[in-house]
Structure formats: C-alpha cells, structure tokens
C-alpha cells in the first residue's frame, strides 16, 4: 500500500504527535472545566496544565501518518468506529457499531452503469487489486458541526470512471446504498425515503480528492464506517459521502439525494462545507473537532479550497448550497 498524505507537504510542517491531547485527557480536562464553571476565570489555566500523552489505542490497526496536512492529529480508531451517523442501522450514533457488527461486507459487488461505454459489476476485491488503494488522511466535517480527521484507505473515483468510460451525455454520477431492511434495521423506519442515494457533478466525481474508500486505519473498512465500499468527498458535508454503495450510475440529469428530498431548504445538492452559508440547526461557522473542548473555526471547503474552488467558479454558493 502506498502512502499519500494528500496534499503533500513537507514532514517538517507536521505537528508531532506529542503536541496533542489524548481523548481521555480531554475528558478529564473537560471534567475539571465543568467543575470550575463557577470559577470560570481559572478554567483556561486548568487546560494548559494537562500533560500530553500517547494516543495509541491497543485495538487500533497501525496508521501510517499521524496528522493531516494541516498538522491536526488523526482521531482514534475507537472514536471513528463508535460515533457513526448511519441511519440504515440506527439514528443513535453510538449504537451503529453494535447493530452493524454482523453486517456482511465481503464479498461486495458494485454495479457501475448508465451512460457509460463499459458497464460492469465489480467486486470490491477486483477494485482493490486493480486500483491499489492508498492511505488518504482527510478531515470529515459533519453538517451537525462536529468533525474528525480520518485515515482512509481507498482509490480515487476517477480511476474507476475512466475504466467504464462515461459517454458525452453523462453529466452527473448517482450513488445508491444497499437496500436490505433485514440486515439494516433502520431501513424499517417509514420516516426516510430508502434507499439512501447521493450524487456528484461529473467534474466533482473526477476530482482527485474524491475517494472510494475500501479501508480505514490501514485495515479493512468496518461495516459501521460504510463497508463494503463508500464514497469520501472531503470538501462536502459528511452526508454526501454515501456508505455501503451497491450502485453507481452515470446520468444526464441532476440526481435526487436523500437529505435534499427530506428537507430541501436545509440540505442542497452541493452541500460544500461553507462557514458563510448558515444552517437553521447547526453553526456552520464553527465546529467541534472530536476530542477537543473548544470550538474551532470551520474552513472554506473544509480546508480544501485551494484544490476545489475552481470547480465552482462563477457559481453563487449561497444559492447553490
């Protein structure tokens, strides 16, 4: 497996692991802070006295790089795999891992079809041997104003699209999650228009940052994280990064997307991370990085502005939220 910490930056700019707090220390620090709410003036001092410690979790597979290109540490394997927005199982983020534990992610097939010259159904094993997945450390910003840094293993979607050859009429890519209420109990809920579907404009789908992930933390992709195979679009809100994909279709018209169908004025087709376009529920100007106490400023396009801003030249991002 090759290592690619996208975008590449000199290792001298990477913050050493010792410079950040482990989650457990954060919890203690937060506890001390909670206790001293009445004595709010001394709270910042309390935080500064916390000793940095090692964040390695025994259960976590090895991770090749420790930080993203901005120097922020990756979140623990435990946090990434136990705090999941995955309504196909349950709306309770901490309940997904347990309910998905027996969900079979291998073998896994993905049908790639629509406006393409070479439609084909691939198995994830085929895709892995064909496209040689690499590690990519991306920030994931949830629309609910929390975020994580996640070391994915995957390959860029463009490699697959190049192979199936979209025709000139293809303008969008539509993705669909497995529909199987027996194995995904949340799909029994009548409040959602299952199956989950998502979409990208073709140029977004062809962007090198757009990843099909088949692994996490140097290992397999756990079922609660979207195994067999999932999309990761790091400059968009997390719900665009559809999980457990079984169907990829090249289409001419803008596809329907799950959250846009549910609440069209809240969740747009583009859903680019944008601190200047607000949301009625969550602050999009700030976010909480999981493991940190203070909110931090949300970055335009989740910090990938340099790479993706060109895709949206001339577009009004407030109208195309």
């Amino acid at each position: 497996m090759t290592k690619s910490n996208y975008p590449r930056i000199p290792s001298s700019e990477i913050t050493p692991k010792e410079a950040y707090l482990s989650r457990r220390d954060f919890i203690k620090a937060a506890g001390v802070l909670a206790g001293s709410v009445a004595l709010a003036a001394c709270a910042p001092k309390v935080l500064e006295t916390i000793e940095p410690t090692d964040n390695a979790s025994p259960a976590a597979p090895s991770v090749l790089t420790q930080t993203d290109e901005l120097g922020d540490p990756v979140n623990s394997f435990e946090d990434i795999t136990n705090y999941n927005n995955y309504y196909e199982f349950t709306t309770n983020k901490t309940g997904v891992a347990r309910l998905a534990a027996d969900f079979p992610t291998s073998p896994w097939d993905v049908k790639v079809h629509g406006l393409v010259n070479n439609p084909l159904t691939y198995s994830v094993d085929d895709l892995i041997s064909k496209f040689q997945p690499e590690e990519r450390i991306y920030r994931l910003r949830c629309v609910e104003a929390w975020s994580m840094v996640i070391p994915w293993v995957g390959f860029p979607l463009w490699k697959l699209l190049k192979e199936v050859e979209p025709t000139s009429e293809a303008k969008y890519v539509r993705f669909e999650t497995l529909l199987n209420p027996e194995e995904m109990p949340g799909q029994g809920s009548p409040f959602y228009p299952w199956p989950y579907q998502e979409g990208l404009r073709l140029d977004e789908a062809m962007h090198d940052l757009t990843l099909l992930a088949t692994g996490l933390y140097g290992g397999e992709l756990p079922p609660q994280s979207g195994g067999g195979i999932r999309l990761v679009v790091p400059w968009k809100y997390g719900f665009k990064s559809i999980k457990a994909i079984v169907d990829i279709k090249l289409v001419a018209d803008k596809p329907e997307t799950m959250w846009n169908t549910i609440a069209p004025d809240e969740y747009g087709f583009y859903s680019n991370v944008n601190p200047y376009v607000d949301h009625p529920r969550w602050s999009q100007a700030t976010e909480r990085r999981i493991g940190e106490l203070q909110r931090r400023e949300t970055l335009m396009f989740n910090g990938y502005e340099e790479q993706v801003a060109d895709l949206y030249t001339g577009m009004d991002l407030e109208l195309n939220y």
């Binding site: 802070l33 409040f191 228009p193 169908t261 529920r281 100007a285």
Partner: protein, 224 residues
C-alpha cells in the same frame, strides 16, 4: 433535628430526580458519553428537563381523574427537577459548548430559531422556579397560580425547540422526528385533559365505573 417522614411516592420522585444526574456524571468520568460528550450532555439534560416538566404537568389531571390526591403535592418537586436539568442544559450550552464566547452565541442565535425558542422557554421557567419558595407562594397569593400557568406555554415551546433541533422535517413527516413527536403528543394530551368539559367527562366516567364495580362486587353478598 427530626427527619421528615417521606412517603413512598416522595422517595420515588427524589430518586428519579437525581438518578439522571448521577448517571450523567458517572458516564462523564467513565468516558461513556460518546466521542462527543458535550453534545451528549446537551441532549440528555434537554430530554430530562422536558420529561420532568411533563411529569409535573401530568400530576393535576392524573390526580383528579384517578383520585390519587398525593400527586398534586409532588408536582412542585417534579417541576423543580425539570428546572434543574433545564439549567444544566443552558449552562452546558453557553459555558462549555460555546466556552462563554458570547460573540459566537450571538452570531448563531439570529438564524437558529431553536435557540431563540429554547431561550424564551427557559426565561419563562426561571420565575416559576424562583417563586416555588413558600414565601413567594404566600406573597403572590392568587397571582401565584396565574403565574404558574405559564407552564402551559413553556411545555409546547420546549416541544417546538426539540422539533426544530432534530434532523428532519415535520411538514414532510420525515427524518429523526419520532422522539419529539412522542413528547409533543404527551404534552398535547396533558393540556387537553385540562379543558374543563373533557376533564369533567373523564371524572364522571371514572365515578360511573367505580359505582359499577362496587355494585358488581356487592351483588353476590346481597343475594345471600
């Protein structure tokens, strides 16, 4: 000092009142409040505040319909526990989530109606908590009762606050709205039971059933 004698219901109420807080603190120190503990505290204290408000709102109708008089004496404690969790909810939001950064709160308040509605509900709840002392009850006299009718406005506001904060859409009946709808239905039921005609009808129904029960049990002995 002599210990006051507690009724079984009183013991249940006070255990139920403190238990969620004990579990929350325990969960906090044993690292069980998810990877996002601040949000977990906000959500849990919010739900508990609404739960206790609805319990206190249930006391009067349940007491009059089922004739369980003691419930009306527990109403105040239940309401105060509701206030306790509402206060923890608000403190967590301002002091921990936003780290007392009033500018950031201010920026977010204006386009998030759920914060405004929640804040109104809490500000209305505040005088009810303060005037729960005996001193104020005596001093306010008839107005005390009038003031405390504010809870009929507060509980719907809290339900709306809850509906606005979950991911989903009420108009399309889609998303994560099952829980606020459940709480909303209970709140609506408890308010409907206060409409005099409905309340009287239920009391009449109960006393008719009571009479029917008594006659049925009495009948065999009368035959002897």
């Amino acid at each position: 000092m002599r210990m006051p004698r507690l009724t079984p219901l009183q013991i249940v109420v006070h255990i139920a009142g403190w238990l969620p807080l004990v579990l929350l603190v325990h969960g906090f120190y044993t690292d069980q409040l998810t990877a996002n503990p601040i949000q977990a505290i906000e959500q849990r204290t919010g739900i508990q505040a609404l739960t206790f408000l609805l319990f206190s709102l249930a006391c009067t109708p349940v007491a009059s319909i089922f004739g369980w008089k003691e419930l009306t004496q527990r109403r105040k404690a239940l309401g105060l526990y509701g206030f306790l969790y509402a206060a923890l909810h608000v403190i967590t939001f301002f002091a921990i989530d936003y780290g007392l950064d009033l500018e950031a709160v201010w920026r977010d308040v204006w386009n998030k109606s759920y914060i405004i509605i929640g804040a109104i509900a809490f500000l209305l709840l505040l005088p009810l908590a303060v005037t729960s002392l005996k001193y104020w009850m005596k001093r306010l006299g008839r107005n005390w009762k009038r003031l405390h009718k504010l809870v009929y406005i507060i509980s719907p506001l809290v339900v709306v606050h809850f509906l606005l904060v979950v991911k989903g859409s009420l108009t399309q009946l889609q998303g994560n709205i099952y829980q606020p709808l459940l709480y909303g239905s209970i709140a609506a039921l408890l308010l409907i039971l206060r409409i005099p005609k409905i309340k009287q009808a239920l009391i009449n129904l109960r006393s008719r059933l009571g009479t029917w029960n008594r006659t049925r049990h009495a009948a065999p002995t009368a035959d002897k």
